[in-house]
Symmetry: C2
Subunit: 272 residues, 2 copies
């Protein structure tokens, strides 16, 4: 049950993911485009927050976007229809039991998925098998240990640590961003290059303060209040002080930092 | 005495600063150039690690580089001569008692200085007064709270925390990078823009692993072993384990992250 709090599909979570995607589109996706006629597997598309961006930026590529949740796929389909996309096929599938032939995709795209998996290298290895030789994989993940801010606050750090622990107890890893390079190398990809995508928000960048610090990151932490307290990870008063202190960083003399990591690699021409 | 360990002028420290400047030149300075005939005050030039880069990149600007340490100025002068620089004047001066007329510089440059001062806003205010109206200031600082790595290590975090505490006890602030924006605004600068400069080192970037993770950051932490233990901030065995774990991040499956912050602002046309 706790799982649903951490990466749930409720409407507030949808809104948060949508806000996140809207604010971060350029930072995360500006350098991802697929050529005409290429086939792209998006593994773990959720409610389609990235799908719309990907498909609009590569209108002549063909996307197959899958997620394990039927509800998410239904919502993603609604959004894809609303956006008028014709180059996306949405399917409910299990990442570890995909019905596709080996070497059947030119590219694979995975965003905010590995953080939820207890076997990320196994997932990447499965995806490698679906790529044609020299096909590329693009992986994007956050890292909650990359969050720091001014004014600093032990309570805010403790509230964030609750999210890290809840995600670990659910089998995931909220600190996975910094590990992308070794994970992708271990899964047998060649030419792996990882680049950090840092969000820095002070009051000279009000859109980021509102869109990221307040409505993405702090909203996410606010969303784990009940499970964190139920799991006795933190005192309610400390948690609430931490959330107040995160909001405090959005004032005119505050600053907030967070880093996403984007990794790109390719399937070797001969199997490793 | 502890002060000398944290920002000392010994030869190992010089070597570290030189390594740091060599590795980070592009990241920190690529977007800093001053036009022909402009006058630039470099406040706190130390042994000239940044001075050489600045003066070579803006050969037609005239630099006045000052530092409170006579030894540092002597070493900076030796290096400037060795580099054949003719556009740099080096002087031993106190930042808080500079002998220059008000509004006598077109630009001010301050790098790795505010972190050592107990009154950073006062220092910035002094420097603002030396700028002509609309003149610019460029400030670069690190932030030791921005360091995170894989494999993660509580011992390494504890060793880094020693450096933060030693610097605080010496009146400085090793977490100042994230605060550049509010500090510069408080000191009365207009149009302040701060941009993070993140160093990300994994084994696909061996020069950064060696030049930054190993020879800059880890060497700096190794350098505070004695004062940290003397101040009873940490057990020797924990400190040594922390240093080993920092070296561990330089192996083929490791990763290391650190962020510098660069702020630029201008003196208002009318005094605030």
């Amino acid at each position: 049950m706790r799982d649903t709090y951490v990466h749930g599909y409720g409407s507030r979570e949808n809104e948060r993911l949508q806000d996140q995607a809207g604010t971060l589109v350029e930072l995360l996706h500006a350098d991802t485009a697929y050529p005409r006629g290429s086939t792209v597997l998006e593994a773990g598309c959720g409610v389609g927050a990235q799908t719309i961006t990907l498909a609009q930026r590569s209108p002549e590529a063909r996307f197959t976007s899958v997620d394990i949740s039927a509800d998410s796929i239904a919502e993603a389909r609604r959004r894809a229809d609303e956006a008028g996309l014709t180059n996306v096929q949405l399917r409910q599938e299990d990442l570890f039991d995909l019905p596709f032939d080996a070497e059947s995709f030119d590219h694979v795209f995975v965003c905010f998925v590995l953080e939820h998996l207890s076997r990320p290298v196994e997932a990447l290895t499965v995806l490698r098998g679906l790529l044609r030789p020299s096909g590329t994989i693009t992986v994007i993940e956050g890292d909650h240990g990359s969050a720091y801010f001014h004014p600093d606050s032990p309570a805010a750090q403790a509230a964030i640590e609750c999210q890290v622990r809840l995600q670990a107890e659910a089998g995931g890893n909220a600190l996975i961003g910094r590990q992308l390079y070794p994970l992708m190398v271990e899964a047998g990809f060649d030419g792996v290059r990882v680049s950090p995508r840092m969000v820095y928000a002070d009051s000279s960048r009000p859109d980021l303060v509102d869109g990221f610090t307040r409505r993405t990151f702090t909203a996410m932490i606010e969303g784990i209040r009940e499970p964190a307290i139920a799991a006795k990870l933190i005192e309610p008063s400390t948690f609430d002080a931490g959330v107040r202190d995160l909001h405090r960083t959005t004032e005119s003399d505050g600053a907030f930092c967070y880093t996403f990591f984007k990794g790109v690699g390719r399937r070797p021409t001969t199997a490793p």
